[in-house]
Amino acid sequence: MVTLAPQSQLRIGDDFGADAREVHLAGQAVFQVTHDARRPFRVHTAGVSTEVLGTRFVVRAYADDPDISVALVDGSVRIRSSADSDQSRALTLRPGQVARAVIGTAPRVDEQTNAAALLAWTEGQLVFKDTPLSQVARELGRWYDVDIRLADASLSERRLTATLGREPVDQVLELVVLSLDLRYERAGREIVLSTR
C-alpha cells in the first residue's frame, strides 16, 4: 500500500512483480510492503535506492530538493546511493530511524530526527523541528500549492520548530512569520517572506 504526498509521482515499471518489485519515486510517499524474499521491493529515486524487506516506511525525494529522507516505521529497509550498486555498502535502518542523503552522497542516519515527524503529513500534519527556513518554505509551498520565496538569502538558515495542521495558509503563515520575526506579502500563489 502506498500513500502519496502532494506533488509526488510514483512510476511503476511494466515489469513490476516479474522478478523484483521496482518503483520510481519523485516526491514523497509512505509504503507498506509485505516481505517477499524472492521479489524484493525497491524504491528508486534520483539519489537513493531503498530496498525493502517487508515494512512500513516513508521516502521523500522531491525533484526540487536535494535532500532525500527515508524514515522507517517498522520492519527493515536497506538504503544505498543510486550511484553505488554495491549492496555491501548499503545502510540498514532500524524502526524509528531516519536516513538522509544529498544526491550523490551515501545516506547517513540522522539521529536528531524522529521518523514520526516525517510521517506526520499522513495524519494531516506538517512537523518541523529546527528546520531551516529554506526547507520550511519548500514544504509549506507543496503543502498549500503556493510558491514561497525568501526576500533575502540570509533568512534561509533561520530555523523553525512547528507543528502545523490543515489550517488555511494565511493563518499558518501569520503565525510562522510572527515567530520568525518576519513579515509576508502574498499575491495569489506568490508569497514573499522578508524582514520586518
Binding site: D130, E157, R158, R159, L160, T161, A162, T163, L164, G165, E167, P168, D170, Q171, E174, L175, V176, L178, S179, L180, D181, R196
Partner: protein
C-alpha cells in the same frame, strides 16, 4: 526695495517617497510573556488573559528538572495538544528550568518558562501557540533640566510628568530628569516643585530619532502666594508678563502654515503685528516702522537677524535662525521692561537651545526654504549644536526664468559648558552669506532686474558666562555683531545706478544681575557698553536721484568711516504686594557718545491685579528711546549734528482671562506718542520710512539730510484668543487688531502713517487627531497700507509725489489662506517628519508693492508668489 519676483508656477520642491510606517506598539515592561489571540489574519493579535481564553486556564502536571525550555515545551505540547511554533534563532530558549507542580495552569507554566525571554505567546483558534519576539517598541526619550527662572539654579526634586500618561520622573541634584521609553507623540509636560509655580510645557515632540531635551524655567512662587493653590498653567502668569507679551514655542512656529519655518514670519500672527508685504518679514508692530523692532538672540542685541537684510531696519527675506535650534521665543509688542532698551517698538527675545548630551545625533532637513544638516552631542562638560543650511530660492527663481536669484548659506552653532555647579559658559555663533545674482539673457531680463538689490554677509557671536548663587544670578555677555552690505541698483542697461558698500560692526559687553530679596521682591540690575569699531560707508548716488526740496540735484559720493560708543544702565524691581497685586518698576538710562554725549532716561512701570476666576487686569506705562541707525548718521554730513534719539511714550491697558487652563483670552488697548522722530527736510511731508523698491522713485532709505522733528501717535485695540495643545488636541490663536497711526513731519500737517493698519485679523488653527498627524490652517486678512501717488508728468515723472504722501488711497485689502499637513513617521532609531504646506491656497496673489512702470509710464501693482505648495521632510537620527 528687494521684491520677490512673481512666480506663478506651482512648484513641488521635493518629492518624498512614502515610507512604510512602523507603528509604535504597545508598551511592555512586563517580565513574563503576554498572551495574545490571533483571531483573524487581518487584525493584529489582541491581548487576552486566562479568564477569556480557556486554553490558558487548563490545568496540567509538570515535572521539569533542569530541562531546557524547548524540552519543557515539548512536554507541555504532549499534555495539552497545544502546537508550539518558534524559532530558536529568534527567541532564546536555551536556559534550563526546574518546575515541579502537580496542578498548575498553563498560563502559570508558560509565564515561568518564558520569564525575561522577551517573548509573547500568540494563540490561534486552531490550537497553535507561537512564541513571538516582543518587538522593542519604537520609543523616544524626553530629558531635560529644570531651573529657577530668576537665578538659573537647578531645581532639585521637581516632578516632571507627561500629562495623560503614566510616565513621570523627578529631577536630580543637578536639576536634570530623564523619561525613557516614551512613545513618539507630541506631549505636554507638567512640572511641579515645592516653592515654584507649576508649569505646563506643551508641544514637546517625542521622536524615535534623537532624544528631546527640554529646559524648563520655573518661576518661584511669590512668598505672598504661599497660602493659595496655584494650578499649573499653559501660559505665563499675568504678573510675569503684564502686557502685550506672548510666548511661542518652537513647535507652534514650525507647524504654522505659510510661515516657511521662519520665526519672524510666525510672530506676524500675534496681535498688533503685520508684515509690510507677504514676501518679506519686515514687521509692522502697532503702527511702528520695522526699524523700531529689537531682536535679542541669547542675550545679544542683533540689529537685523535676516537674510537679504534692509540696512538700518529690521526686516529681510528670511530669518538666519534655524528653527530646530530655538528653545523659546518671547515677543513683546509694547510695554516691555527697563532691561530692554534702545528700541521703541517691540522686543523679540530668542533663546537657542543646547545640544543633547547623551549621544551624538543628527538631522537632515528639506524645508520650504532650503535644506539643512545639523549635528549635536556631548563635548567636554557640556554640549555642541551646529547646523548648516542652504536656500533653494536660486533654483526656484532660475527654474521660473526670473532674471535674478537669491541664494544663501547660513550656519548656527552653540557650545555650552558647565563649569561646576554654579557656572556655565556658552557661545553662540550665527553667520550668513547671501548672494543676490542675475541671470540676464535678454534686454527684458535686464529691465526686470533694474531694481534695488542687496548682497549682504553677516555674523553675530556671543559668549555668555553665567554664575548662579542661591538667590541670585550674574550674567556677562561679550558679543560682536558684524554686517556688510552691498546694496545696489543697476539701470536697464545693466550699468550701476546706485551703490552702497557698507560695513557695520559693533562689540558689546552686557552685565546683568538678578537677585531675589528676602521679601520676595525680584531685583534686576544691569549695564551694557557697545563700541561700533567699524562703520565704513562707500556710497554713490547720482544727483538726479537725490534731489532736494527745490528739485536741485544733490549727488552723494561718500567714502567715510567712524566709530560709535554708547552705554546703558538699567534697574527693575518686581514686587508682589498682595496675593493679587504686583508691580514692576524700573528705569534705564542710555548714553550716546556719538550723539554729542546725549543721555536719555526712561522710566517704566507696570502693575497687575489678579481677579477671581483666572482673570487679571494689567497696565504698563513707560518712556522708550531709540538711537538713529548708523546708516542714517552716514547718510548726510549734517545728520550727526541734527539727529538725536527719538522717543515713544506709551501706555497699555489689558485684561486677560483663562477660559480654560489651556485657553486664554486677552484684550488690550494702547496709545503711543512719538517725539523727535526722524524727518526729511527735502520731503517735509514725510517721516523716515524704509522700503522703496527702486532708487528711481525716491532717495534710498536714510541717505539724505535728516532731522529729529517728527511727532506722531498710534492707538489701537487688540483681541487675542490662544489655545494651547492639551488633552484637547486643538490649538491655535485668533487675533483682531485695530490700529490708527499718524505722523506730523516738518510741514506740521498730520497725515496717516505709511504703516497705519486700520484692521488686521489672523486665525491659525491646528488639530492633532493622533500622534501621527497635524493639520493646520491659517487665514490672514488686513487692510491695505496707504499709498503715495507718483508724479505722472514732467521731469520728475515716476518719482513719488510727496504732495500726496500717504494720500492716494490704499493698497487692496490683503487676505490669504494657508494650510499645512504634518505627518510623523517613527522608526526604531529614526524619526521622519514630512509635511505639505500650501501658501495662498485660493491664489489671491496679493500685491506686494505699488510701483512705477517705466514703460507704461503708469503705476502698477507688483505681485509676489501666489499659490505655492511645498513639501518638506525632516529626518532625525
Amino acid at each position: 526695495m528687494r521684491r520677490m519676483p512673481s512666480i506663478r508656477i506651482a512648484l513641488i520642491w521635493l518629492i518624498v517617497a512614502t515610507p512604510v510606517a512602523a507603528q509604535a506598539e504597545n508598551q511592555g515592561s512586563e517580565r513574563g510573556p503576554r498572551f495574545l489571540l490571533a483571531s483573524s489574519t487581518t487584525a493584529a493579535p489582541v491581548r487576552v488573559d486566562a479568564r477569556t481564553l480557556p486554553t490558558l486556564g487548563q490545568r496540567l502536571a509538570v515535572h521539569f528538572v533542569n530541562e531546557t525550555v524547548t524540552q519543557a515545551l515539548e512536554s507541555i505540547a504532549a499534555q495539552t495538544g497545544l502546537r508550539f511554533i518558534f524559532s530558536r534563532d529568534v527567541v532564546t530558549l536555551d536556559r534550563t528550568v526546574t518546575i515541579d507542580a502537580a496542578d498548575i495552569s498553563l498560563a502559570a507554566v508558560l509565564t515561568e518558562l518564558l520569564l525575561d525571554a522577551d517573548v509573547d505567546v500568540v494563540f490561534s483558534p486552531a490550537g497553535h501557540a507561537a512564541l513571538v519576539p516582543r518587538r522593542k517598541p519604537s520609543v523616544g526619550e524626553v530629558a531635560g533640566r529644570v531651573v529657577d527662572a530668576v537665578t538659573g539654579a537647578a531645581v532639585v526634586n521637581a516632578g516632571v510628568e507627561i500629562i495623560g500618561r503614566d510616565v513621570a520622573a523627578t529631577t536630580n541634584a543637578e536639576g536634570t530628569f530623564r523619561l525613557p521609553s516614551v512613545p513618539p507623540d507630541v506631549v505636554q509636560l507638567r512640572i511641579t516643585a515645592l516653592g515654584f509655580v507649576p508649569f505646563v510645557q506643551s508641544d514637546v515632540v517625542v521622536s524615535t530619532g534623537k532624544p528631546v531635551w527640554v529646559l524648563v524655567e520655573l518661576r518661584p512662587e511669590p512668598v505672598r502666594l504661599g497660602g493659595i493653590a496655584v494650578g499649573p498653567s499653559w501660559f505665563a502668569a499675568p504678573r510675569e508678563v503684564p502686557t502685550s507679551t506672548q510666548r511661542l514655542n518652537v513647535e507652534e512656529i514650525r507647524r504654522s502654515p505659510g510661515a516657511q519655518e521662519d520665526v519672524v514670519r510666525a510672530i506676524s500672527l500675534l496681535p498688533g503685528v503685520a508684515p509690510t508685504a507677504i514676501h518679506r518679514n519686515d514687521l509692522i508692530v502697532r503702527g511702528g516702522a520695522p526699524f523700531e523692532n529689537l531682536f535679542i538672540v541669547d542675550g545679544l542685541e542683533v540689529p537685523n537677524i535676516n537674510h537679504f537684510a534692509a540696512q538700518g531696519s529690521s526686516g529681510g527675506q528670511a530669518s538666519l535662525l534655524n528653527l530646530d535650534f530655538l528653545r523659546s521665543v518671547q515677543f513683546s509688542a509694547g510695554g516691555f521692561g527697563a532691561t530692554q532698551g534702545d528700541r521703541v517698538g517691540s522686543v523679540t527675545t530668542l533663546s537657542l537651545r543646547e545640544g543633547i548630551t547623551d549621544r551624538h545625533a543628527g538631522e537632515v532637513n528639506f524645508a520650504a526654504t532650503g535644506f539643512g544638516v545639523m549635528a549635536e552631542g556631548p563635548v567636554g562638560a557640556g554640549s555642541y549644536l551646529v547646523g548648516l543650511r542652504r536656500s533653494y530660492f536660486d533654483l526656484i527663481l532660475k527654474a521660473s526664468g526670473e532674471p535674478f536669484f537669491l541664494r544663501y548659506w547660513d550656519v548656527n552653532a552653540k557650545v555650552s559648558q558647565r563649569l561646576g555647579q554654579r557656572d556655565e559658559l556658552s557661545w553662540t555663533f550665527v553667520g550668513a552669506l547671501d548672494d543676490w545674482g542675475f541671470n540676464i539673457e535678454t534686454p527684458e531680463d535686464r529691465y526686470d532686474a533694474a531694481l534695488m538689490a542687496v548682497n549682504d554677509d553677516q555674523y553675530f557671536s556671543g559668549l555668555t558666562w553665567s554664575h548662579t548663587a542661591q538667590h541670585s544670578r550674574l550674567q556677562l555677555t561679550l558679543g560682536r555683531v558684524a554686517h556688510s552690505f552691498h546694496t545696489f541698483q543697476n539701470d536697464t542697461l545693466g550699468q550701476p545706478l546706485f551703490t552702497n558698500r557698507s560695513t557695520e560692526a559693533e562689540n558689546s559687553l552686557r552685565l546683568n544681575f538678578n537677585r531675589v530679596l528676602a521679601s520676595g521682591t525680584e531685583l534686576e540690575l544691569g549695564a551694557a557698553a557697545k563700541h561700533a569699531d567699524r562703520l565704513r560707508y562707500d556710497i554713490e548716488i547720482p544727483g538726479s536721484l537725490r534731489t532736494d526740496l527745490e528739485g536741485t540735484a544733490r549727488p552723494l559720493d561718500l567714502d567715510s568711516s567712524f566709530t560709535a560708543f554708547r552705554m546703558g544702565w538699567w534697574g527693575e524691581a518686581r514686587t508682589q504686594w498682595t496675593t493679587r497685586f504686583s508691580t514692576r518698576l524700573g528705569a534705564r538710562a542710555d548714553y550716546y557718545a556719538y550723539l554729542d554725549d546725549a543721555v536719555r532716561v526712561a522710566p517704566r512701570l507696570a502693575a497687575t491685579l489678579e481677579l477671581n476666576g483666572g482673570a487679571a487686569l494689567s497696565m504698563s506705562a513707560g518712556r522708550y528711546w531709540q538711537t538713529p541707525s548708523f546708516i542714517w548718521l552716514a547718510g548726510d554730513p549734517s545728520n550727526a549734528d541734527n539727529l538725536r534719539p527719538f522717543r515713544v511714550d506709551q501706555i497699555v491697558i489689558g485684561f486677560q482671562k483663562l477660559l480654560r487652563e489651556d485657553l486664554k483670552l486677552q484684550l488690550e488697548a494702547y496709545r503711543k506718542r512719538y517725539r523727535a522722530y526722524p524727518t526729511r527736510p527735502w520731503r517735509p511731508q514725510a517721516v523716515l520710512t524704509p522700503g522703496i523698491e527702486s532708487v528711481e522713485v525716491d532717495v534710498p532709505f536714510g541717505l539724505e539730510p535728516l532731522t529729529s522733528q517728527g511727532t506722531g501717535s498710534a492707538a489701537g485695540v487688540e483681541l487675542f484668543l490662544q489655545k494651547r495643545s492639551s488633552s484637547v488636541p486643538v490649538y491655535g490663536l485668533a487675533s483682531i487688531s485695530i490700529n490708527s497711526t499718524e505722523f506730523s513731519a516738518l510741514d506740521g500737517v498730520s497725515r496717516i502713517s505709511a504703516y497705519d493698519l486700520p484692521i488686521a485679523a489672523n486665525l491659525a488653527v491646528g488639530w492633532r487627531p493622533n500622534a501621527l498627524w497635524d493639520l493646520g490652517l491659517r487665514f490672514r486678512a488686513a487692510s491695505g497700507l496707504p499709498r503715495t501717488a507718483y508724479i505722472n508728468s514732467g521731469p520728475q515723472q515716476g518719482r513719488l509725489d510727496f504732495a500726496r504722501y500717504n494720500d492716494d488711497g490704499r493698497m487692496p485689502a490683503f487676505h490669504a489662506l494657508d494650510i499645512r499637513v504634518d505627518r510623523r513617521w517613527s522608526f526604531r532609531r529614526v524619526q521622519l517628519t514630512t509635511y505639505l504646506d500650501i501658501q495662498d491656497l485660493y491664489n489671491r496673489d496679493n500685491p506686494i508693492a505699488y510701483v512705477w512702470d517705466q514703460r507704461d509710464r503708469a503705476p502698477r501693482y507688483e505681485r509676489a508668489i501666489g499659490f505655492l505648495p511645498s513639501l518638506g521632510v525632516n529626518i532625525e537620527f
